[in-house]
Structures are given as structure tokens and as C-alpha cells.
Symmetry: C2
Subunit: 375 residues, 2 copies
């Protein structure tokens, strides 16, 4: 392998693939980035074995030459050291040449590095997804459904399956569900597919992929095998393993009957809870109380050692009975941050029953929170 490549493009690709590289791993090869040069260009691969990111730099783009290839080949280089070297090199172009024993010369301006590489033959192979069916989603919609669900996954490994987001396709709908058993989020979009799909994608993978997705991608192509999913965007392939097991039926957790419905300005409510939480956090449980009053609701928190706080939030509309209920402030804020539109509807069925949030007249995103029992 022997190439000369534009520095900024190499840095960009290395930064993308670096996101997947494990900082701690028993497998030394996973601390490296694999560089693979074909006639088409350079592929930089990083992996922690759960997530694999392949970032591609084409030889030419819009009639500008990006890579000059002198010989093809591949090499694995320590990810942390290689990425720091290329960021700091003095010239706009970088020459990379693999010599005997995987020694790799990196040259730029008057700087010359000789790095010990590893044989790329030992780098983990990726599953082939070439024969799998593929689907397309607009980038902004994909980012939205990830953002609206991934916050609700469990961070505990007690029930590993709950660390993932369930994607279920049936009746021309994609239903994305996440729950950590204290709250849940369910997003529904229309989705054309002749087959039924039911997979569980690790929340961490969705999060990482979402961060990688730049806005100049119009669509993302999605395909999967029973245990892998592949997201394909411009110059990037993102692989993630899938979680195995049966995801709980979240549908039956969502109450249908409603004894009280409130409509409130989303931001006003969010900020009031954020402030009440300053004191509520001091008692660890981060519990705030919501109480309907005349024309408004009161958000309050009382932590005897520190003090108390009362917030007044104007009601836009209220139907049904008066309600007093306590809940975890963080769960409520997480949910409110993903609601679209200026107003939020909250539906209660009782002080000790889960309550439901959705944007005004928008049932495509349903969020549920379990209340906290207070004395």
C-alpha cells in the first residue's frame, strides 16, 4: 500500500471511524484502524465488535483528485496514535507507505513517522449484507425517531433487552418503542414494507449513528440480517449488532381511559420542572409534585434540608378531575424535550397510574411515565 492523500479528507474519515474504536478491549487489533486501499479509494474501518464504522474516501470527487494511488493494499494502525499524527502533520497532503513487516511510513512536509502496523488479515470480517432487502428513510426523519425514543432505553444491564430500541414493522407502519420500565416512548411512522420486521437495536448504536449523520445526507439505506443492522449513508457504512430476545409488548402498558387531560405550553412546563429539580435532586429521588389549581398548575418540590420551591404554570386547557401527582423530574424533562410543537397534552388516569404525554393533536409520539408514590 502506497498512497498520497489530502490531509483534511483523511482526518475527516479517521474521525468518523474512530468513534467506533474501543478505548479498552482485550483484542489489540480493535485498538487499531484498518486502512484498505482499492482502485476506488481508501476505506477506514473502526470497530469495538458491537459497532463497526467504515468511512470511505473516494479517489476523485467532483473532478478533484483526493488520493493518488501508487499501490493497493491494507494495514492496521494504532487508532489513537495515527489519528493524532495526521491531525498534527504540517502539510496539506500525507504520504502513507507500508514497508516490510507492516512498518508504515507517514510523511508530510519535513516530518517523517515510521509506525509499527499490524497485519490487516487479522482484522475482524464484517457480515455480508449484500443479499438483504434494504429500506430507505429520510435522514431528518431517522434522526427524529432516534432522538424521540433512545432517551428512554435502560442504562442498566439487568434486563439487557431494555438497553435497545424495538423496531417493529407491520401494516405499513414502523413502530419504535423504548422503555426502562419506569417510562416509555413509542414513535409511529408510516413505512412501506411487504414483510413484517421485529428487531431490537442497541440504544448506544442508534445514538452513535445519529451523531455521525450529517445533514447533507438526504436518505439513509437500512438493511439487516437476524443479528446485524447496516445503515448506509454517503461515504459511510455503520454496522451494529442487534439484541437477541423478545421485546415486551409495550402496547398493553399504555392506558386508554383518561380521567384528566391538561394542555400546557411545553417550554414553560419544562423550565418550571427544571427549576424545581434543582432542589428535588438534593434528596436523590428527584421527585417533583404537580397539582392542578384554578387556571394553572403548580409544580413544587420540598427538600427540608435545603428549602422548597413553588412554580406556577398557566393552563392552556383542562378537562376532567383535579389531579395531584408526583414524578421523577428528569423523566418528565426528557419526555418534554422530544415533544414537537409548542404545546403538550398530558393525560392522567389516577394518582398511582402511569400518565401519558403527547404533542398537541399528535399521537405519532406517545410517552408514558410512572408516577412516584409520596406520603
Amino acid at each position: 500500500m502506497n498512497i498520497t492523500i489530502k490531509k483534511d479528507r483523511l482526518i475527516h474519515s479517521v474521525n468518523e471511524s474512530l468513534r467506533a474504536v474501543a478505548s479498552k478491549t482485550p483484542l489489540p487489533i480493535l485498538t487499531t484502524l484498518k486502512l484498505f486501499v482499492s482502485d476506488q479509494g481508501l476505506t477506514v474501518t473502526g470497530s469495538d465488535s458491537d459497532i463497526t464504522i467504515e468511512s470511505f474516501v473516494p479517489v476523485e470527487e467532483e473532478e478533484n483528485q483526493i488520493i493518488e494511488i501508487n499501490s493497493l493494499g491494507e494495514i492496521c494502525l494504532n487508532a489513537r496514535i495515527f489519528s493524532e499524527i495526521i491531525r498534527k502533520l504540517p502539510s496539506d497532503t500525507i504520504k502513507i507507505e507500508v514497508k516490510d513487516n507492516f512498518q508504515t511510513i507517514i510523511k508530510s512536509g519535513k516530518s517523517e513517522f515510521k509506525i509499527n502496523g499490524l497485519d490487516a488479515i487479522n482484522y475482524p470480517r464484517l457480515p455480508s449484507l449484500e443479499n438483504s432487502k434494504s429500506y430507505q428513510l429520510p435522514t431528518d426523519l431517522l434522526k427524529t425517531i432516534i432522538r424521540q425514543t433512545v432517551y428512554a432505553v435502560s442504562t442498566s444491564e439487568t434486563r439487557p433487552i431494555l438497553t435497545g430500541v424495538n423496531w417493529r414493522v407491520e401494516n405499513e407502519q414502523l413502530i419504535c418503542g423504548a422503555t426502562d420500565s419506569h417510562r416509555l416512548s413509542k414513535k409511529t411512522i408510516s413505512f412501506e414494507s411487504s414483510e413484517n420486521i421485529n428487531i431490537i437495536i442497541p440504544g448506544k448504536s442508534l445514538d452513535e449513528f445519529s451523531k455521525l449523520l450529517s445533514d447533507d445526507n438526504e436518505v439513509v439505506e437500512i438493511s439487516f440480517t437476524p443479528n446485524q443492522i447496516l445503515f448506509k449513508a454517503k461515504n459511510i457504512l455503520f454496522y451494529s449488532r442487534l439484541l437477541e430476545g423478545n421485546y415486551p409488548d409495550i402496547e398493553r402498558l399504555i392506558p386508554i381511559d383518561r380521567s384528566t387531560s391538561l394542555k400546557l405550553n411545553t417550554k414553560d412546563l419544562l423550565h418550571a420542572i427544571d427549576r424545581a429539580s434543582i432542589l428535588a435532586r438534593e434528596n436523590r429521588s428527584n421527585t417533583v409534585k404537580l397539582m392542578t389549581t384554578v387556571g394553572s398548575i403548580e409544580i413544587s418540590s420540598n427538600t427540608p434540608e435545603v428549602g422548597d420551591v413553588v412554580e406556577d404554570v398557566q393552563l392552556v386547557q383542562m378537562n376532567g378531575d383535579e389531579v395531584t401527582i408526583s414524578f421523577n423530574a428528569k423523566y418528565m424533562m426528557d419526555a418534554l424535550k422530544t415533544v414537537e410543537g409548542d404545546e403538550v397534552e398530558i393525560h392522567f388516569t389516577g394518582t398511582m397510574r402511569p400518565f401519558v404525554l403527547n404533542g398537541e393533536n399528535d399521537e405519532t409520539l406517545i410517552q408514558l411515565i410512572l408516577p412516584v408514590r409520596t406520603v
Copy 2:
């Protein structure tokens, strides 16, 4: 105490004083900020007992009212909680009122906090520096001399005195010296004073004060007692304890004879060492080698497990013998970053003798580095 104050000004002052508040302290009162209201305005004080910062908000400024005072007084409030509350309050003005038992009402818009305060009578008193002589320094000059010396103080408590910067005034000169016994920095400026001064200011204090100093201060007033220094800038008082003991005579450490003198472009050298250090750091000692060649110098590093690097930096000028010397890359970079002007001079007296750096024709800043013995 009962005031209504503009939110942005209160936040600004609280942020300044908060820098001094200890995160961990056995004294609960030092986790608070003291608010003190006089006819002139509000003084916010934070302290970790080494450093004390008093930030002042005047009642009126440029004919704009900033504080409406209903009653004078003082109170101590938990610093972390108070600062978070005021940052998140909804309205542009904040009302603060101290009630019975130091309970403090904080009101803004439809938000109302009631916080348990502490009696300000228990807050540590500051030393009086009113009768001390005071000196003035231009703000930018003060920031420069701090930046050029404080990096060289010791971070180890083995010899506590070396964690400070020595300020010595004699013969109308202020000489600032810092050393961690591996390298040293000495900055000299002219300074009018009828008395000789010799104090040691903790490096951490200088660092903190420098960060506080905004560019709209023209001069800083400096006064001290035998164990305290006070920096006075616009609306801010910064107190620091001084270190006690005798600072070593750094003058005698600086070699006068020179066997080799190099002149180099500062940035070229800095960047070359920065790159060589990527590999040098891998062997913990972070040692790089400098070797003169024809018309240039070679910076190199060799870490067998990782690889090696050779950098070529063009010489602007060289006098004396060829030289090969090894040193800690970080020490060299720290020194080079504080050199003013485009070019740096380096003077050697032998492979195992300390070498000296200074800006081109500029002996007001002298920096010394001990070489590393290599086999």
C-alpha cells in the same frame, strides 16, 4: 436584607466569586456564597480560605439602576444551588429577601424559592489591607507575566514553596521566578518602588486571578501584608494567601557561558516537538532528541514498541559547536508557548548542562530546561 436585582448582573458576579468556592471542604460555611448589601450595592464573596473573591454589583451604573434596595443586610447561601437557581430563573429581575431564621425567598416571574441560609456572621473575615502600600500594573502586562511564569511552578507538594511564583522587587525591577527544579522561568519588568519586596504567590492563585481578569480593566492595583496579597480590579477584589519560607536563588542556576547558540522559528520548532512527542509520550518519559545538522536541526524520538519519528527544522542562525541533546518535550513546548516574537534563541553549554531559551534579542524572559540523560 431585601433587594431586587438585574439577573444578568447577579449571575455575572456570582460566577466570578464561585471560582473561589471549594467543592470539598470540612467547613460548611465555605460551600456558601456570602451576599452583603450596603448602600453602595451588593458584594458577593466566595472563598476556599486560600483564595477569596469579592465581586461587587453597584446600585447604579451609567445612570441605569441595577439594584433596588429595600433593606440592607447579609446572608450566606449554598453556592452551587444558589448559582443554579439564578441562572434558571424566568424573569430579567430577581427579588431576594431574607426572612426569619435565615430563610431566604428568591422570586422571579412565577417562580418562588425558599432556601435555608446560614448566618453571615460566621463567614471568615478578610484581612484588612487598607493601610498597606499599593502598586499598579497594566492588566495586559500582569496577564503576560503570570502566563510566562506560572506554567513552571511545581505541582508536587514535596517542596510546597516551589508551587508558588517568587516576586522580588529591587533596583526598580520586578523579577518573577518559578521553578519545579526541572525547568525555570524568570521574567523581569521595570517596577517603581521605594521598598524591596520578596513574596511567594501560589501558582494556582495567579492562574485563577488571570482567568478572572477581563480585558476592560486597564490597571490592577496590588497590595499586600506579610501573608496576604490583594489584587484590585474593576468591581472585583481577589485575595490570596502567600507562601511562607525562603525561595531559592534562581539567579545562580542560570548558566552564563555558551558553547552553542541556535536561532529558530518558534512555531516550526514547537510543532515539530509536538509531533515527536506523540510517540515520545508512549514511553512515559516524553523525551525527544535535538541534533544539529547542516543548516537545520533534527528533532527525533524513538519508541521501539510504537515506532520512530524524525522532524527537520530549518536553522535561522547557529553559532558555536555542533550539539546533540535530549529533553522533556512538554517542558520545551511549555517554554516555547510563552516566548514572544517569531524567533527563539536557545543557548547550550554542554549535553548534560541546563540550556536557556529566550525570545530574539529579548532577555526580559529567560527560560531554563534541564536535559535528560540518554544512553
